[in-house]
C-alpha cells in the first residue's frame, strides 16, 4: 500500500490531468447539448495544458526569468565582451513547456471561438442546441 501511495503522490500531476481530461472527453462524446460538448472540449484542452506545464516544474526552482542573481554552477561562461557565471539549470524552471502552452492556449481560444460561432449558426438554422432535436428536425426535413 505504501509503495502505491508513494507512487500516487510522486506522480499526482498525471492523475489529475488524466481525470480532468477524461471528464472533458466524456462530455465531448456523450453530451447531447452542443454547448456542453464545448465545455467538455475546454476541459479537455485545459487538462493537456496542465499536463505540459507540470512537465516543466522543478522543485524549489525559480520562474524562468533571469535576474542576474542566479546560483552559479561551477566555472564561468565566456562570451566576447563579458563574463557571466554558468547558471545552475536546476534552479530555473524549464521554459519550453510554457512556450509551447502559450501557443496551445491561443489555439484553444481560437478553436473555442470558432466552435461557438458554429454552434450559434446551428442555433440560427435549427432553433435548437440539442443534438437529438436537431437530428430529428433533419429527419423530418428529408421526409417531406
Amino acid at each position: 500500500m505504501d509503495v502505491f501511495l508513494d507512487f500516487l503522490i510522486a506522480k499526482f500531476n498525471y492523475w489529475i490531468y488524466v481525470i480532468l481530461m477524461m471528464i472533458g472527453l466524456f462530455a465531448m462524446i456523450a453530451k447531447n447539448n452542443l454547448i456542453k460538448k464545448l465545455v467538455g472540449m475546454c476541459i479537455f484542452q485545459t487538462a493537456i495544458i496542465l499536463f505540459y506545464v507540470s512537465i516543466g516544474v522543478k522543485e524549489d526552482a525559480r520562474i524562468p526569468i533571469l535576474t542576474g542573481h542566479e546560483v552559479p554552477h561551477g566555472g564561468h561562461y565566456h562570451t566576447e565582451d563579458h563574463e557571466r557565471p554558468y547558471i545552475d539549470a536546476k534552479t530555473v524552471t524549464n521554459p519550453i513547456p510554457h512556450v509551447l502552452m502559450l501557443t496551445a492556449i491561443v489555439v484553444g481560444v481560437s478553436t473555442l471561438g470558432m466552435a461557438l460561432a458554429i454552434a450559434q449558426k446551428v442555433h440560427l438554422h435549427y432553433d435548437s442546441l440539442e443534438e437529438d432535436e436537431i437530428l430529428a428536425k433533419l429527419q423530418l426535413g428529408n421526409n417531406d
Binding site: 465531448m28 479537455f44 509551447l100 466552435a115
Partner: protein, 525 residues
C-alpha cells in the same frame, strides 16, 4: 535564392492572405489574382525544392537562423527547421498544384456559393494550403501541431460557410478534429517528457537510447496514431468526413477531399519512419497485424458504403474512406514495397480524388442533380468532362496505364511479400466494387440518353436540387457542355496528371525508394 525555396512554399500563400486582408475587402477584384499569384509562386517554389532534393538529397532549412548546438552528446537543434526529402517534396508539389488548379477551377463557385464573403473565403483558402504545406515540410513535432490547427481551423470555417447542413457537419468536425489534434499534442508531450526535445530528428536519436519497452513511448505512438487517424478519417473514426465534404461549398470539398486526408497519411508515415523509426515501429512492436486488419475493415466498409450511396458526393467521400484504408494498410505492411505503394498512392489518390471531385462539381452545377442519375446520357452532352471522368474512373478501378493501377500493383506486391492475404483480398474486393460503381456510371452516361432510366427518383432529384440552392439551373441538353474553360482546363490537367504519374511510375517509385532507404526501411521487416 534557391536555398529560400522551402520557406517560399509556405509564406507565399501567407502573404497572399495578408494582402487580401489588407486590401481585398475594398477591392474585391484583387482577390483572385492575389490567390493565383501567390499559389503560383508556392507551386514554383515547391517544384524548385523538389528538383533541388533530387539533385543534392535531403534539404534542411533553418528558421530563425540558429545553427545546431554542439554538446558532448552530439548536435541538437534549438529552433524550428524544415526538412524536405524526395517524399515530402512530391507531396509538397501535389499540395501546391492542387491548390493552384482548384483556385482556377473554383473561381466561379466561390462567387456564386459564397457571395459577400469572397475575401474571407480566399484568405481561409490560402491559409489552408499554407497549413497543409507547412505540415508536410516541418521537422518539428510541436510546430506540426500548430500547423494542423491552422489547417483545421480554416477548414472548419470553409465547411461551415456552406449550406445549412454543412454547419452541423462542421460542428462535428470541430469536436472530432479537436480530439484528434489534442491526442497528437498529448503524444508529443509524452515524447518530450522522455526525450527533452521537439525536433523530430533529435527525438529519433534520443529514442534510440531509451529502453525499447518503455510504456510511455508506446502510449505516445498510440496517441499520435489515433490523433492522426481521426484527422485522416480512418474507418471507425471517419464519422466527420462524409457530411463535411458532401455539404461544404464546391471549392472546399475539391480542395479538402484530395489533400487533407492524404497529407495526414503522409504525416503518419513521417511519424512512423523518421520520428519513431522503422525498426521500432515494425520490428519491435509487432502491431502490423492489428493495423493491417483495421485497414482491411476500413477498405471493405468504405467500399460497401460507397456502393450503397446514391448521392454523388457522398459516394465519393466513402471512396476516400476506403482509400485511406489502402494507404494505412500499405504503410503498415512493414516492407518497403508496401510503403512505396502507400506513398505513391498518396499522390495518385490525391489526383484521382481531385479529378473526380472536379468532374462531379461540374456535373452537379450543369445538370442540377446530385444523384447518380445525373450521369444519364452525359457522354453525348459533355464529352470533354466525361473524358476526364473516364480516366479518373479507370484509375480508381486500377487499370493501366493510369496511376491507380501502379499504386495497387505496389500495394498488392507489398501485401504478398508480407503475407497479408486479407489485405490483398480487400484491395481486390475494393477494386471490384469500384469497377461496379464506375462502370455503372459510365454505362449510364454512355447508353441512357433518355428519361427511361430511373424515373422513380426524379422527384427526389428535384427536391435535392432546390434544397441545395445551386445557382446554376439545369440546362437544356445541347448547352450542357458550355462549361467555362476555367473549370475544364484544371480538370483535364488533373486527369492528364493521372496518366503522367502512371507512365512515370518507375522514376517516382525510384525516388520514393531511395528516400525510404535513408530512413532504414529497405532492410526493416
Amino acid at each position: 535564392m534557391t536555398e529560400q525555396f522551402p520557406i517560399l512554399i509556405i509564406i507565399a500563400p501567407l502573404f497572399g492572405a495578408i494582402l487580401i486582408a489588407l486590401l481585398g475587402f475594398r477591392h474585391q477584384s484583387l482577390c483572385l489574382p492575389t490567390v493565383l499569384g501567390s499559389l503560383a509562386i508556392s507551386c514554383a517554389a515547391a517544384v524548385g525544392t523538389f528538383l533541388k532534393v533530387l539533385e543534392q538529397g535531403t534539404v534542411l532549412y533553418n528558421l530563425s537562423g540558429w545553427e545546431r548546438v554542439t554538446t558532448p552528446r552530439g548536435l541538437f537543434s534549438v529552433s524550428i527547421e524544415y526538412r524536405v526529402d524526395a517524399i515530402s517534396g512530391l507531396v509538397l508539389v501535389a499540395i501546391a498544384a492542387v491548390g493552384l488548379l482548384n483556385a482556377i477551377y473554383s473561381k466561379v463557385h466561390v462567387v456564386t456559393e459564397t457571395p459577400n464573403k469572397v475575401p474571407h473565403y480566399y484568405i481561409l483558402y490560402l491559409l489552408l494550403v499554407a497549413g497543409l504545406a507547412g505540415m508536410t515540410i516541418t521537422n518539428d513535432a510541436f510546430n506540426l501541431y500548430v500547423l494542423i490547427e491552422i489547417s483545421s481551423l480554416s477548414s472548419y470555417a470553409l465547411i461551415a460557410i456552406g449550406s445549412r447542413r454543412a454547419v452541423l457537419a462542421s460542428f462535428n468536425y470541430v469536436i472530432m478534429g479537436t480530439i484528434g489534434a489534442s491526442f497528437y499534442l498529448l503524444g508529443v508531450g509524452y515524447l518530450y517528457i522522455k526525450t527533452g526535445t521537439l525536433n523530430m530528428t533529435d527525438i529519433h536519436a534520443a529514442l534510440a537510447t531509451l529502453p525499447k519497452d518503455s510504456p510511455s513511448v508506446q502510449v505516445a505512438l498510440i496517441l499520435i496514431l489515433i490523433g492522426l487517424w481521426i484527422k485522416m478519417a480512418f474507418f471507425p473514426l471517419h464519422g466527420w468526413l462524409p457530411n463535411a465534404y458532401a455539404y461544404s461549398p464546391t471549392a472546399t470539398s475539391t480542395l479538402m477531399g484530395p489533400l487533407v486526408t492524404q497529407v495526414m497519411i503522409y504525416i503518419m508515415i513521417r511519424m512512423m519512419l523518421s520520428l519513431f523509426g522503422a525498426e521500432y515501429v515494425f520490428d519491435h512492436l509487432q502491431w502490423t497485424n492489428i493495423v493491417v486488419g483495421l485497414s482491411v475493415i476500413a477498405i471493405v466498409a468504405g467500399s460497401l458504403f460507397a456502393l450503397s450511396r446514391s448521392d454523388l458526393r457522398k459516394m465519393l467521400t466513402y471512396l476516400i474512406v476506403a482509400e485511406v484504408g489502402y494507404m494505412v494498410g500499405g504503410a503498415w505492411l512493414a516492407n518497403s514495397m508496401g510503403m512505396t505503394g502507400a506513398i505513391y498512392h498518396i499522390l495518385s489518390d490525391a489526383m484521382m480524388t481531385f479529378t473526380l471531385f472536379m468532374v462531379i462539381g461540374i456535373i452537379i452545377t450543369r445538370t442540377g442533380k446530385t444523384e447518380l442519375t445525373a450521369f444519364q446520357g452525359l457522354f453525348r452532352k459533355m464529352p470533354i468532362t466525361m473524358t476526364g471522368f473516364t480516366i479518373a474512373a479507370l484509375s480508381m478501378i486500377g487499370l493501366p496505364p493510369t496511376c491507380g493501377f501502379f499504386s495497387k500493383y505496389y500495394l498488392v506486391r507489398g501485401g504478398i511479400e508480407a503475407g497479408q492475404w486479407a489485405y490483398v483480398g480487400a484491395l481486390l474486393f475494393s477494386s471490384l466494387i469500384n469497377a461496379v460503381i464506375f462502370f455503372r456510371l459510365i454505362e449510364m452516361a454512355y447508353f441512357h440518353g433518355g428519361k427511361a432510366y430511373g424515373e422513380e427518383i426524379t422527384d427526389k432529384d428535384h427536391e435535392h436540387h432546390h434544397s441545395r440552392g445551386r445557382e446554376l439551373d439545369a440546362q437544356p441538353d445541347e448547352t450542357l457542355e458550355q462549361v467555362p474553360w476555367s473549370m475544364l482546363a484544371p480538370m483535364l490537367m488533373a486527369a492528364a496528371s493521372l496518366l503522367a504519374i502512371g507512365i512515370f511510375n518507375r522514376p517516382i517509385a525510384g525516388w520514393i525508394n531511395a528516400a525510404l532507404e535513408t530512413l532504414n526501411l529497405a532492410q526493416g521487416g
